[in-house]
């Protein structure tokens, strides 16, 4: 894996990493991918079960009753946000003016 590829993955993951970090991850990824690559051997000879999920439960529903009172958790949840304004969570501007 190249350093540029690691920087691309970091970008996709919204993580800022330094050049030194990218270099270290390059080596780690090579080792990890070399190991997990053996997964391909197993599937040549076996298993075509492509189910995804680790629970035998299917379509679990519950009634939408016992609804909590409005605003019960609002104050506590807002307290955990880094920046709020009059009951809203505040973020920086998303669109640039130009």
């Amino acid at each position: 894996m190249k350093k540029e590829e690691i920087q691309h993955l970091a970008k996709l993951s919204r993580i800022e990493i330094s050049d030194d970090e990218a270099q270290k991850y390059t080596e780690d990824f090579d080792k990890i991918l070399a190991y997990v690559d053996k997964i391909k051997e197993l599937n040549k000879e076996s298993s075509d079960d492509i189910t995804i999920g680790n629970s035998s439960n299917v379509n679990v529903f519950r009634n939408d009753d016992d609804v909590q009172e409005t605003g019960k958790y609002t104050e506590n949840i807002l307290k955990e946000a880094p920046d709020t304004h009059e009951g809203f969570i505040k973020v920086k501007k998303i669109l640039n003016n130009d």
């Binding site: 993951s13 993580i15 970090e21 991850y25 053996k38 997964i39 189910t51 680790n54 629970s55």
Partner: protein
Amino acid sequence: MINLNELTIKKINEAFKSGEFTPADLVDAYIEQIKKENGDINAVLEIFNDAKEKASRITDFSNPMAGIPIIFKDNILIEGKTASASSKILENYTSTYSSTATTKLEQAGAIILGRANMDEFAMGASTENSAFGVTKNPIDIERVSGGSSGGSAAAVASNMAICALGSDTGGSIRQPSAFCGVVGLKPTYGSVSRYGLMAMASSFDVIGPITKTVEDAEIVFNTIKGVDEMDQTTAEGAGDSNTKKIGVPRNFLKEGVDEDVLQNFNDSLQKLEEAGHEIIDIDIPSLEYALSVYYILVPAEVSSNMSRYDGIKFGERVEGENLEDGYFKTRGQLLGEEVKRRIMLGTYVLSTGYSDEYYRNAWKARNKIKKDLEEKFKNVDVIALPTTPNPANKIGELKNDVMKAYLSDIFTVSANVAGIPAISIPSGEVDREGKKLPLGIQFMAPWFNEERLFTIGKEFEDVR
């Protein structure tokens, strides 16, 4: 003076009933012990100052957990208390609700003493990835306590609480339990609700107990288990207590296992055979692929689950020039090296062009492993393996070898990949530089057959 070293949950319950000491006395004794021992070990991040007051209100001891002090891993929510997952990004986060496990334990009368150190967001096998310093092994403070529930295991081993909760995604309860010489149970996937457990890999995670005895693990498990409408993957299943036939996947033990660990494992099996068990060699070739499955699917789920840490909704934030720059800076500066590694690895295996090759292939292999285990359990009641391929490592020993660190989960990940229950029980010690380091033996059982693990665990405690 309460002798903390000789207690079990049942003995405490008897002492409460007879009036020998009160829950408040016991809280005092454990807090004194934490203050004495924690400086060297760094197992406990915070002692809850309302523990004694809560304990003094417990007067009905009909529930075995009434007044029992317990320590929580730092990723299980307790309303109004800090839960940081040992990460800078949640350093000052206060839980806005309680986990189902918390609620069940509080209803039973248990007293939550404090929160325990861990690898950041449960990613790691040594607690060296904690943002708040490594938890040292109480038996040899030059060595790691294991992880990711290292604080919980070290706390129980050094008498800071009679029991603790951990979470297990690939061995995070059993491996530190083996390294610290205590009992660790990873329950069946879905038998304990994940509501209020910080998500790492949602198709693998489960909460479980760390205790000194198998009986204590059983008592805590029976308190926290059960179907929960807040977690739609929870379920119940039928089980039994058959333990006569013990399967041993010998081929899996051919390489990479410390000689003393292998010797100890074989001695343990011999004792069980002398006690009337039948030891049967079994071969499950697909087990060799369990670690690969794990290190593809877990990072994939991690990369999705960790996207919630964006510096906006909760947790800490590093200001950026605009919204997106804020994401990059917050995640880049406040998440640790291992967490970032797994997020990026997950992003890689899920990306276009690689998701078939890695992600889908890993699910196929996972299904094959489950099927193979189901087949083997028709012929054996439990499967035995050493819990870890070696005793506790020195602190820093695996710091620069990521794959070697990952391989320390080789014997534990299979249970998480398949979703079956497994328990680690102390099986003896090995001499290393004048210290007697604990080892663990692991038993695995079919889905929802925790009872088999408790049965064979108690038998093993008698013969070891």
